[in-house]
């Protein structure tokens, strides 16, 4: 992120902040969608993040920390969204065939479904840990800091999340074997 742009926005320049929004919106939206698994919630979380960022930016002393700060705001907004009660709405993802072709073919549809189901069972903080670790490739120290938890807690929560996802994959594998053998 352009440091001067952040400094101008901090000093109240709305045009500079608009540039920041345009540059970061897609990435924020992708991360929020992965965490919330819901495009409407992702939108709400991203908008809340950007409103808070604009509102509180004058207090940011070290502009080089803007991106980490923005990520922290997004993480908190996503967690709050997930905790704000479940909406009675099912989002069906329509997979574009062209897009599907671009996906890694080494993973089966069943694997993806199993991971999706396992991921949705994770609590909000575990989702954040998994997405920031495996998608954003952030070190656990930074993720722990974003979540406001000790490093050891982040490690143990990630470990539990992985165990839960592994269990989901293995349960699906067992079901697949059972079906193949005509037991299910």
């Amino acid at each position: 992120m352009d440091l001067q742009l952040v400094e101008r926005a901090r000093d109240g320049d709305r045009a500079a902040f608009t540039e920041i929004v345009m540059a970061s919106l897609a990435d924020l939206d992708r991360t929020a969608r992965l965490i919330t698994r819901d495009s409407e919630r992702a939108k709400d979380a991203v908008q809340e993040t950007l409103v808070k960022a604009w509102r509180d930016l004058p207090g940011l002393r070290d502009c080089s920390r803007f991106e980490a700060w923005l990520r922290q705001l997004l993480v908190r907004s996503c967690i709050d969204e997930l905790r704000r009660g479940r909406r009675h709405r099912v989002e069906v993802e329509l997979i574009d065939l062209h897009e599907a072709r671009g996906r890694d073919v080494s993973m089966s549809v069943a694997d993806r479904d199993a991971l999706d189901r396992g991921f949705r069972r994770l609590d909000a903080e575990q989702r954040v840990l998994v997405v920031l670790h495996y998608y954003a490739d952030l070190p656990l120290e930074s993720i722990a800091s974003s979540l406001g938890i000790p490093l050891g807690t982040a490690k143990s929560r990630l470990s539990r999340a992985r165990a839960s996802l592994r269990a989901a994959l293995e349960a699906d594998a067992r079901t697949g074997v059972a079906m193949a053998e005509g037991r299910a």
Partner: protein, 436 residues
């Protein structure tokens, strides 16, 4: 069987596939309109009044210092004479007091909450990261807290900056530390001196590399090193606490093992606030995180703490240490992990968490004279604090993932009141003491 590496690969692949790199959210215009309706907060930047960083002494004209001192004393004297007799009575610094506001974090900012109504009366934002570990001064007129940067720094931890502000919001927060100087590995609520004039905290003096317990005066003097060493690891000094009579600062420290100085034991020590040789109270061998959550009784003669049950055990117990008698009394049940003790304001009983087979820990109160136990059940989790009048306890709701709760201590877990917190209640809670 899914191997670790296989799981990592599948997770990474799945997430990257799910995140469409070409997606372009359709709500850019809507977001910009939202921003049009949002004014920027004109945050009053915290005013650094002192710095913990060791700086080379600068020659100062002593006549100017004397003049400044005389002027400051004169202003202070006039202000004091105006205030005496006209303001509210201060809360007693020790023992039961009236119940004021609750201070707790919501994950980013600190909230000041009126406990009887649950109304958020003020928000303390800093926009620099997470504000956490609030601590009201003994008389309830000041609030100290740490602000944590969003990301760790070169020291590999989570550096914090110490702020203090008047509870009535009449002045913006003033910073008592420089960037990244203060931190503590073990839940470091700022430690107020009983007269409310100083705050002890653990810090790294960046230029000298000294790690230790520092004390900073709100009068503008300090910070000064109470005890510390150059170039040692961070855990060597942790969790400073001021005795209620002001004669000692206790802390958890690592000390060389007498029979094998190459190894470090975890010890509980006390040191005079004006600095001096530390006094070793108790030591455990080879057990990290022992003597956590220690707290002074109002009589300044006893300290309650959590420590490991034994070198072989991973479980904690709660014990009271009598400083004069040099004896320890375990007050938790043998074999049942217990932790995070807190004295009742009258010093007669101690509340702590007792682990259950699963789920939320039970909150237990033990009357020390009779050993009578009151089990309030799994009503609060993670952090709690006594009300200054000793009639109730405020804590985080079970699971520590949402609201705060108030629990009357006399009704064995009945009559729990939920205080709805905007966002997520996090971290320790401080309860303001006011004149009853």
């Amino acid at each position: 069987m899914t191997t670790e590496r296989d799981l990592d690969r599948r997770l990474s692949t799945w997430l990257h596939d799910e995140a469409d790199p070409n997606s372009s959210p359709a709500y850019l215009g809507e977001t910009l309109t939202l921003l049009d309706d949002t004014p920027q907060r004109r945050w009053l930047r915290a005013v650094p009044i002192v710095s913990v960083v060791d700086r080379r002494p600068v020659p100062i004209d002593r006549r100017i210092v004397r003049l400044a001192l005389v002027a400051t004393l004169a202003v202070a004297g006039i202000t004091a004479s105006l205030l005496v007799g006209s303001g509210p009575r201060p809360a007693p610094s020790i023992g039961p007091a009236g119940n004021g506001l609750l201070a707790l974090g919501d994950g980013l900012d600190l909230l000041l909450v009126e406990p009887s109504t649950g109304r958020v009366v003020d928000r303390v934002p800093d926009a620099l990261g997470t504000e956490l570990y609030p601590a009201f001064s003994p008389d309830g007129t000041q609030l100290a807290f740490f602000s944590k940067d969003p990301i760790g720094d070169a020291y590999g931890g989570s550096p914090r900056r110490l702020f203090v502000m008047p509870t009535d919001g009449s002045r913006p927060p003033a910073e008592l530390t420089d960037d990244r100087a203060a931190w503590d590995d073990g839940e470091p609520a700022p430690a107020w001196s009983p007269d409310g004039r100083q705050i002890a905290f653990v810090a790294l003096a960046i230029e000298s590399g000294v790690v230790g317990v520092f004390s900073v005066s709100l009068d503008g003097e300090g910070p000064r090193l109470v005890i510390g060493e150059e170039g040692v690891q961070r855990g060597m000094f942790a969790q400073p606490r001021w005795s209620p009579d002001g004669t000692w600062i206790s802390y958890r420290g690592d000390t060389p093992r007498p029979d094998d100085p190459g190894f470090l034991d975890t010890s509980l020590l006390i040191v005079p606030p004006e600095a001096g040789p530390p006094v070793l109270l108790a030591t455990t061998t080879g057990q990290n995180s022992s003597f956590s959550d220690h707290a002074w009784a109002p009589d300044s003669r006893r300290i309650v703490y959590t420590r490991r049950a034994s070198a072989e055990s991973a479980d904690d117990l709660v014990a009271v240490y009598d400083i004069e008698a040099r004896t320890e009394t375990v007050i938790s049940v043998d074999g049942v992990p217990a932790y995070r003790p807190a004295w009742a304001p009258d010093g007669r009983s101690v509340a702590f968490f007792e682990e259950q087979a699963e789920g939320t820990p039970s909150l237990v109160i033990v009357e020390l004279a009779t050993r009578e136990r009151t089990d309030l059940g799994p009503v609060v989790d993670c952090f709690f604090t006594w009300s200054p009048d000793g009639t109730s306890i405020a804590g985080l709701e079970p699971g520590c993932k949402g609201d705060a709760v108030l629990v009357p201590v006399t009704e064995a877990g009945r009559g729990v009141t939920v205080i709805v917190i905007p966002g997520t209640a996090t971290g320790p809670i401080s309860w303001q003491r006011v004149a009853p």
